[in-house]
């Protein structure tokens, strides 16, 4: 395929995408002449170029469409739904031909006569006297040559008669139309009549230009868009290659940072390298970003078609179209989004009569919303339909054997809703060709989780359903925790990691319980199935806890399965660059890739979902264990979770969302600025709040430097604060009785385990600049309230 054809394909496809968008908008605003002009331009460009490239079938079709559009543009014809439907059909036909050209260079076989006839028929309402088709097509050669000369002299067009054929015929047609306004019903046409030739001329110059090849094309192109000047089309493979190279650079940087950590003279340089690498990475990632509108823009057409097929009336609202996402991820969420929209239209939004009967606006609303949320993009599909009938889901789930009747009775509403993601579960009464086969939601979850995202569903009966997809910004570089097993490093993606449990050597025997062959761990009172990584990777090896060594349980949540992965050791979390594995190793099933660590060692990336499956952690385990972490929240969704700590014999609560980590360290590490205790924490100075007096006086600290203390590192706005505690007791949801105002100046109180507990006021910890030691205020409100 030559360069010209390729360019034509890209341009035409973009034009058709634009046309599709405009057509659906046109349905809402049939009078919008700007939209009509845009559509006309798209079709006209295709027609103009095809004539030059010799795609006859495409030209004929585009021509028929253009005739119809010309009438619309001149206001002689109204953009009624049947007309728009016909134009959409034209669009599909044009697309399929373009596709054929792309694949084999030919236009493909197909008969367009029916569609052309239909388009012709559409024109009649405005034209009581049908044009003789002969005038339209056959004599073109004779007249156009003459006309083209006329046009050429006017426009100083290139002396190639063939090139000028297209504008000439258009001009001829325009003339023809202009001579007719007497017969047109609207007298208003007189106004455009004056300006029309000028506009037409300009437009033709602009739109035909690309077809004229190199020399002439450039002259006219600036008319098309000024934006084109500052942008550049880049091959995706080149971007992928750049991303790989940047990945390499990140790895090299990691290694250099580790190697130079001890050399002060290199610190400056490696810092600089670190910064430049980070910037470069961000820029390359940005280059791969595409606005969500690329897939959102496909939705109006789909919604329109589905509405017609299903007899719904739906208003589509889209927000945050400018939100950007990595190209490959955007591709990956296309299917889930389509499924979600189909579901909303088919099962969510009711037919107009039903809506009216329920006292709702007969026209339903479907909202697509995209927004940034930290390092994720959240895409929401929200409808104001009937919502999901939880009872129906329950019945279906029992019917399908996904959950037992007894078990289902214990499930909360939100938990039941999540069952809808199980394969084969559909609440639709009958299977339509749109949805109801029970694969949709399953596909949504599988696809989104495959790219490291998460799906949630929320529904209120009678008010609607919201499906929320959380998508990571990029796939290539992910944060991971490096774990060790079999004297080898493995990377565990942070996305599925929910917490880490440390089991000291002396407790190993006691903490892990066995039910026959199944190892279990009591995580805050609930049994967590365990998988020994060593045993999994080396079947037959003596698994189990090693008594002489620390053991760690990584609590993982993957595809609805929750389990603990027992590893021999933990290394630092690292940003890893995902390298694909060869097919042979991918087939093993438990590795999703490999990476090079900061120390140059290779590490395999574990796939938590596959590990769970391989270890036989059942999907149904979700219902039994998922609520260990979420259960409390699910029952009382309005509540905030707190970390329950004890300081100097008094309980206190820290909002769990603010807790970054819990550190156990020797007292000797606490240093003093004046009377103010501080901690040198990962190279940063952390103000320590010693409200409970765990530290003792500064003077006594010197003698007992070996004593272990616990510091809860919390986030307070932009800064971090450490809080000393005697014990960390539990995680619990606060009662909403006193929930309000936890961030208020005085610090709040909450009801934890039926006890009124003071909430640590992180904002009350004075910044380091103030030299005076902080006054404790966390326990006072308790006394006041209790």
């Amino acid at each position: 395929m030559d360069e010209l054809t390729r360019e034509f394909l890209i341009e035409s496809q973009e034009g058709l995408d634009r046309m599709e968008r405009c057509l659906t908008e046109l349905e809402e605003r049939p009078q919008d002449t700007a939209l009509l002009a845009e559509i006309f331009r798209s079709v006209h460009t295709i027609k103009g170029t095809t004539g030059f490239l010799g795609f006859k079938r495409l030209e004929k079709l585009a021509h028929a469409g253009e005739n119809l559009l010309g009438l619309l543009r001149e206001g002689k014809l109204k953009a009624t739904p049947p007309v728009i439907t016909a134009l959409l059909e034209l669009l599909d036909a044009l697309r399929s031909i373009l596709k054929a050209i792309e694949s084999d260079g030919g236009e493909g076989k197909g008969e367009d006569a029916a569609l052309i006839a239909q388009l012709e028929k559409m024109r009649t309402p405005a034209q009581p006297v049908p044009k003789q088709p002969a005038q339209e097509e056959a004599p073109a050669t004779q007249t156009t040559v003459i006309r083209s000369q006329a046009v050429r002299s006017r426009k100083q067009a290139p002396p190639a008669a063939k090139l000028a054929v297209v504008p000439a015929r258009d001009a001829a047609e325009a003339k023809k139309k202009q001579t007719k306004p007497e017969s047109a019903p609207q007298p208003a046409i007189a106004v455009p009549q004056i300006s029309a030739p000028a506009v037409e001329e300009k437009m033709e110059a602009a739109t035909v230009a690309p077809a004229m090849g190199e020399g002439e094309g450039h002259k006219a192109r600036p008319l098309l868009s000024a934006a084109a000047e500052s942008t550049l089309r880049v091959d995706v493979t080149l971007l992928n290659r750049m991303m790989n190279l940047v990945g390499e650079l990140v790895l090299t940087r990691n290694q250099i940072l580790q190697a130079t950590a001890s050399d002060p003279s290199m610190t400056q340089l490696s810092r600089r390298l670190d910064m430049v690498t980070a910037d470069l990475r961000e820029s390359v990632m940005k280059a791969r970003m595409q606005p969500v509108s690329n897939i959102f823009s496909k939705m109006p057409r789909m919604v329109r078609d589905l509405c017609q097929a299903l007899g719904r009336r739906v208003r589509l609202q889209m927000e945050g179209q400018e939100t950007e996402l990595d190209k490959s991820l955007l591709e990956a969420i296309k299917d889930p989004l389509t499924h979600a929209v189909r579901n909303s239209l088919d099962h969510g939004i009711e037919p107009p009569e039903a809506r009216a009967a329920a006292g709702k606006d007969a026209e339903g609303t479907l909202k697509l919303r995209a927004s940034h949320e930290g390092s994720h993009v959240v895409v929401e599909v929200q409808d104001d339909g009937a919502g999901i009938d939880v009872e129906k889901v329950r019945r279906k789930a029992i019917e399908r054997g996904a959950v037992t009747a007894v078990r289902s009775a214990q499930l909360g509403e939100r938990e039941l809703l999540q069952l809808i993601f199980l394969p084969g579960l559909s609440t639709a009464a009958k299977v339509t060709n749109v949805s109801g086969r029970g694969v949709g939601m399953d596909v949504v979850r599988t696809n989104v989780e495959r790219i490291g995202g998460k799906v949630e569903i929320d529904s209120k009966p009678g008010q609607g359903t919201t499906l929320r997809m959380r998508i990571p910004l990029t796939l290539a570089i992910i944060p991971a925790l490096i774990v060790r097993s079999l004297d080898q490093s493995f990377a565990l993606p942070q996305g599925s990691l929910s917490e880490l449990v440390h089991i000291p050597p002396e407790q190993a025997q006691r903490e892990i319980e066995w039910m026959e062959e199944a190892p279990l761990y009591r995580l805050r009172g609930r049994l967590l199935p365990l998988v020994f990584l060593g045993g999994l990777l080396k079947p037959g090896a003596d698994c189990g806890l090693v008594k002489q060594r620390d053991n760690f349980i990584a609590v993982l949540d993957a595809e609805g399965r929750r389990f603990g992965l027992v590893v021999d050791g933990l290394a630092d979390p690292e940003e890893i660059v995902v390298k694909p594995l060869s097919a042979v190793l991918k087939d093993i099933g438990i590795y999703s890739g490999a990476t090079v660590l900061g120390n140059g060692e290779l590490a395999l990336i574990l796939d938590p979902g596959s590990i769970a499956m391989r270890a036989g952690i059942a999907m149904s385990a979700k219902e039994e264990t998922a609520n260990a972490a979420e259960g409390v929240e699910q029952e009382q969704s309005s509540r905030i979770e707190y970390l329950l700590v004890e300081a100097a014999g008094r309980p206190a609560a820290v909002p769990l969302g603010d807790v970054l980590r819990i550190e156990q360290l020797p007292l000797g590490r606490i240093e003093y600025v004046g009377y103010r205790p501080v901690l040198n924490f990962e190279g940063q100075l952390l103000p320590i709040e010693d409200a409970g007096g765990v530290l003792g006086s500064p003077d006594s600290a010197a003698g007992s430097g070996e004593r272990q203390i616990i510091v809860v590192v919390c986030r307070d706005g932009n800064r971090h604060v450490g809080i000393t505690v005697s014990h960390v007791l539990d995680v619990a949801a606060g009662g909403d009785l006193f929930e309000a105002g936890t961030r208020q100046q005085a610090g709040g109180v909450t009801l934890l385990k039926n006890r009124v507990t003071g909430v640590v006021n992180l904002g009350g910890v004075p910044p380091l600049e103030t030299a005076s030691p902080a006054q404790t205020d966390w326990s006072q409100p308790v006394e006041a309230a209790g």
């Binding site: 080396k538 097919a583 042979v584 093993i588 090079v596 060692e601 290779l602 395999l604």
Partner: protein
Amino acid sequence: MKTAAGRSRGAQVATSLVELCAVRVDKTLYGVPITHILEIVGSSRPQPVPLAPAFVGGLVHYRGDVLTTVSLRQLLGIEPKNGAQDILVLESAAGGCFGLLVDSVGEVLTVSSADYEPNPSTLDERRRALYAGAYKLKEGLLVMLEPDRLDPTRLSASNVGIRE
């Protein structure tokens, strides 16, 4: 780098000449056509992959990619060797590449097709599937290896390399 055998017979125009890279595994001398070799990586220690098929020698970092290696020793059921091994980076038929772990890489030999003989029928089945015949050199036999037959994807599909 021609050997005596290569020079004496290579002079004849009628027989075609093949350039092979000689590699040694255990006591046997093997030859890999140099046209298929992308690079030779000296003394490296591949990262083992638990649960991988037996013939997989592990992973190595090669030019920004993670390369799967096939261990000739493990493929042939010879005891694994401790310490670093050399890797031939070979082009596979599928367009990707893989590494071949060998004990040591020797010189490039030019051999003549006149010295070629197909696999003897007495060879065990696994080796018959892996070897592509032998060249009779003055110093002894050189077993011909065809990279396509050693492609990990093919090995796992044909179960040739699965040692039980």
